[in-house]
């Protein structure tokens, strides 16, 4: 595959491409935070359920304290997502795309 020049032109595509200068896509938030927060919430709820699980519930799950284990795992996963976002924040958008007040 050579990289000489541009692909074929098409008026419909070109119109849409030209409009992309106004794109607001740089204002998109980071999904890692939402995933992290939802899983932290799930982790806390399910871990607490697990702490207070009765014998019957543990027996139903074949003797595994599944709520406790699943809850702690989800909590850890949620925290890892938040940590990842904190350590490697999304790259800032190019200056010409940046919005006032964003």
């Amino acid at each position: 595959m050579s990289n000489d020049g541009q692909p074929a032109q098409d008026p419909l595509i070109d119109e849409t491409q030209a409009e992309q200068r106004r794109s607001a896509a740089a204002r998109l938030f980071d999904i890692r935070r939402v995933i992290g927060e939802l899983f932290v919430a799930y982790g806390v709820i399910v871990t607490l359920i697990g702490v207070f699980d009765s014998r019957a519930e543990i027996d139903k799950a074949q003797g595994v304290r599944i709520n406790l284990w699943a809850g702690l795992t989800m909590l850890a996963f949620g925290l890892l997502m938040l940590l990842w976002q904190w350590l490697r924040p999304a790259e800032p958008p190019a200056p010409n795309e940046r919005e006032p007040g964003s």
Partner: protein, 552 residues
């Protein structure tokens, strides 16, 4: 067991987990709204997303509940042979899409898969594909919605129409408001929630049967027997659970069917087109291939556990159908808490599937039908508005289809089978057009049309009893193969008789014509060796091959 069939014993905390999910999904839709100003923002997320997001959305768009429930059912019915649908029937095609085809899709800046056909061939080819895709997506969205409602009715006791209404309203809200970003972000979230729901079922299921070795012993004593533990043994004949020979598995499933589905289905490819640069677009389906390698662990294993622990599984109708393998395990094994997460995961997967159909539809309808043929030359804002209305229309038609499905569920199975017939001829037309620059526009149109008719005719003759195959699966292998050959023959006969396209019209669309720039938009960090699409792709294919060794 409380005698209430599949009815789960959900308590308030389980419902809290479900409600939190619904609120989050809607919140993601609203939060994505501020990032939408142009039509590309709405339909393609402004081509701004990182590869890991588009990659997980790519795999999630395929993880509809029909897929999860269906593959667990196949696991119970056919045993380990079900892994063929993942390791040979998905991974190679996903890698091929990323390495070979994505440079043409992403590099030519087309806004949809049908649009590629408009540039490469002509408007009739484009219209044929755009219309068949649009119709298929809204009908399949309805099938997904109906399946969602059936599960909510069986598991939670919700009336069918309440369940259809709630499911449709949530998907409608987050796509109309948040556009493709809303859909993709929710798909990434859904991916993790689906796994969080399926892993506990798998783990406790394995504990119950005494681990992997206990499961293997139990499967040997089941109706599947030793054959249920092997993927390739006995594929020299059709005397295996799947009833398929190795040649049918390799060429039918592994080549024609899977390449047709993964490489030309816009509901999938759209996720890659929303990536932020060429490297991210190429890595999208390849990153998706890695979770795909491991998903059989949480579908096939629960299927096998259900086979050996649920007495009487495999009934023709009622609660003990194979399709209920995962819901039955959830009922029997999960205590409140993880039960709520598992139900949420199941509902998440239905929404992921339907959202993929709806977001694929609104883009093709707006760009490929409305802008190209009905109302060209309007402002970008106008098409953005049309896209929102197209979303509403898709969901409303989907609800209508769900109503029809409720009355005639068999007809819906046929509709879905019919649309799967379109994939093989479409892939053949694409692949020949991408690599043979001489193939003419007229040949493109007639190849696609006659190939589709050939595949349709094979299907109808089989259903009508005129020609005979061992199984539906064998019919689909042969139908796809016949369609592929028809496309190739029509292209070879018609091309010399018709005018070629000019070379400059084919730049960036056809192999060897130039105009494809793999590195021009590369970002700092994308050049490192472990982000090379070719390397990542080859490792995925090698892993798929290695995974077969213990279950040969």
């Amino acid at each position: 067991m409380d005698g209430g069939g599949l009815r789960l014993n959900m308590n308030g905390l389980d419902y809290l987990i479900l409600a939190l999910y619904f609120v989050t999904v809607l919140g993601v839709g609203f939060a994505a709204r501020r990032a939408i100003r142009t039509s590309v923002d709405f339909f393609l997320s402004g081509r701004s997303l990182p590869a890991w997001v588009t990659g997980l959305a790519f795999v999630s768009a395929n993880l509809g509940a029909l897929e999860i429930i269906g593959m667990a059912a196949n696991g119970a019915q056919y045993g380990v042979m079900t892994v063929h649908y993942y390791w040979i029937g998905a991974v190679p095609a996903m890698v091929f899409l990323g390495i070979v085809m994505m440079p043409f899709y992403y590099g030519s800046k087309v806004r949809s898969v049908p649009e590629y056909l408009r540039l490469r061939f002509n408007r009739p080819t484009h219209l044929l594909n755009a219309l068949s895709f649009a119709v298929a997506q809204v009908l399949i969205a309805g099938v997904n919605l109906y399946a969602l409602a059936l599960v909510m009715q069986a598991l939670l006791g919700w009336p069918l129409w309440t369940a259809i209404g709630v499911g449709a309203a949530i998907v409608l809200a987050y796509i109309t408001i948040g556009g493709l970003s809303g859909a993709i972000y929710n798909e990434v979230l859904q991916f993790f929630v689906i796994l969080a729901g399926l892993i506990p079922v798998t783990v406790i299921g394995l504990v119950k049967v005494g681990g992997v070795s206990g499961l293997m012993d139990a499967v040997r004593d089941s109706k599947l027997g030793e054959a249920g533990l092997h993927a390739w043994q006995d594929t020299g004949s059709t005397a295996n659970p799947l009833g398929a020979q190795w040649i049918g598995i390799v060429f039918g499933l592994g080549f024609v069917l899977s390449f047709g589905y993964w490489t030309t289905n816009f509901a999938e490819v759209q996720r890659a087109l929303s990536a932020k640069n060429m490297s991210a677009a190429r890595r999208t389906p390849i990153i998706a291939a890695y979770p795909k390698l491991f998903i059989p662990l949480v579908t096939v294993i629960p299927g096998l556990v259900a086979l050996v622990t649920v007495k009487g599984l495999g009934a023709e109708s009622g609660d003990l159908q194979y399709n209920n393998a995962i819901p039955l395990l959830m009922r029997d094994l999960l205590p409140n808490g993880v039960l709520g997460v598992a139900v949420t995961g199941l509902l998440a997967s239905f929404m992921a599937g339907m959202a993929a159909n709806v977001s694929g539809f609104n883009t093709v309808f707006t760009y490929d039908i409305w802008q190209a043929y009905l109302r060209p030359g309007r402002s970008d804002d106008y098409y953005l508005r049309i896209g929102r209305w197209a979303t509403v229309a898709a969901v409303v038609i989907g609800i209508g289809t769900a109503f029809i499905a409720a009355g005639f569920s068999n007809i819906m199975n046929y509709i879905q089978a019919l649309f799967s017939l379109f994939n093989a001829p479409l892939f053949a037309t694409f692949i020949i057009g991408m690599f043979w620059k001489r193939m003419s526009a007229l040949a493109g149109f007639w190849s696609l049309l006659l190939g589709t008719l050939a595949s349709l005719a094979t299907y109808l003759l089989y259903k009508g009893g005129v020609i005979d195959f061992n199984s539906d699966l064998e019919e689909s292998f042969w139908g796809a193969g016949i369609a592929f050959v028809t496309v190739a023959i029509v292209a070879v006969i018609l091309t010399p008789l018709t005018a070629p396209k000019r070379d400059e019209e084919l730049r960036g669309l056809v192999y060897g014509m130039g105009g494809v720039d793999l590195k021009g938009d590369v970002l700092a960090g994308d050049a490192v060796w472990y982000r090379s699409p070719v390397l990542l792709g080859l490792v995925a294919v090698a892993l798929a091959a290695l995974f077969y060794i213990p279950v040969f």
